[in-house]
Symmetry: C3
Subunit: 133 residues, 3 copies
Amino acid sequence: MLYEYRLETPKEGFIDITDEVRDACRQSGVFDGMLTVYCPHTTAGVTINENTDPDVKNDLLLALNKTYPDRAEFRHSEGNSAAHLKASVIGSSVTVMIDDGELVLGKWQAVYFTEFDGPRSRRFTVKVIGNRG
Amino acid sequence: MLYEYRLETPKEGFIDITDEVRDACRQSGVFDGMLTVYCPHTTAGVTINENTDPDVKNDLLLALNKTYPDRAEFRHSEGNSAAHLKASVIGSSVTVMIDDGELVLGKWQAVYFTEFDGPRSRRFTVKVIGNRG
Amino acid sequence: MLYEYRLETPKEGFIDITDEVRDACRQSGVFDGMLTVYCPHTTAGVTINENTDPDVKNDLLLALNKTYPDRAEFRHSEGNSAAHLKASVIGSSVTVMIDDGELVLGKWQAVYFTEFDGPRSRRFTVKVIGNRG
């Protein structure tokens, strides 16, 4: 069971996609298993972090931009090597467990699509594996 | 098969949880498959690294703290944005393969729970997928 | 289904292993599922990034080396703590979905083995899970 979702992103930022991931979980009917959220782009990623205070995602973006700046030595002609690097540091996928038909997220966790080189039309896929209830 | 383990963490550090992960593997009876270790917290993570010289984990923590310092610009009221960032950089889960009923870890690999904002009562879950022998 | 591949690495760099991963997918005969590529070493990793302009991988390596330098405070006697850290930041595994018997990679994505402490004889494993067509 493979589900695809589309989104329009801002220039950069963390976009909460937990509702879409939960939707894929429910559509699949999997009761006991796990799912993987996958980003098919090379200047964006997916991660899991705090779901409540929006300042957290702003702080994460600010610090990633300071830690991984554009550099004069970069040679990639598109000029977005820093975005490629942030994508690899954050990662292209996350895995979440499913128990009793529900995502097993911690109380403060949300799933984020992380855009580092937008605005763009993006997509992500969710693969669900396991036993149906 | 979903297993949960609890631990009390120090202020920060890499805690070796390989024994617990191996325990989950054996309890599951899975002979051929894989497992995912998942951290349900947003200021801690899980990673795989060197199992022998304890200086390695100390060096990793030292360098992570230098690379991802607290910043005056951070606005998150809890004051632990650097810990949130280290959690996303290290990641919320690792996957390990199972062959012949055993974890397929490299000779020098251990699985670590990484605390960035303790001390706290923490937990992690292990999901095992595959065929029983 | 567990497949192992060997490679000889340079001092450091991103080595494209997409062909080997695709080979494992095809050998498995899995039509609908997913696979995990796993690095059993602690100073190397695996990641997914741009498949076209070779300058991207050079830029990524350059920036990782600037972000995670060797540090005078490091105590690990082998002197390769920076390589251990880059391994944990990049990660020990990636997951790729399989649909219709093919890897579901984005148009610009390749799978890379990332060497941070070579040259060495290295290996990686690919575990394929799912239904055969």
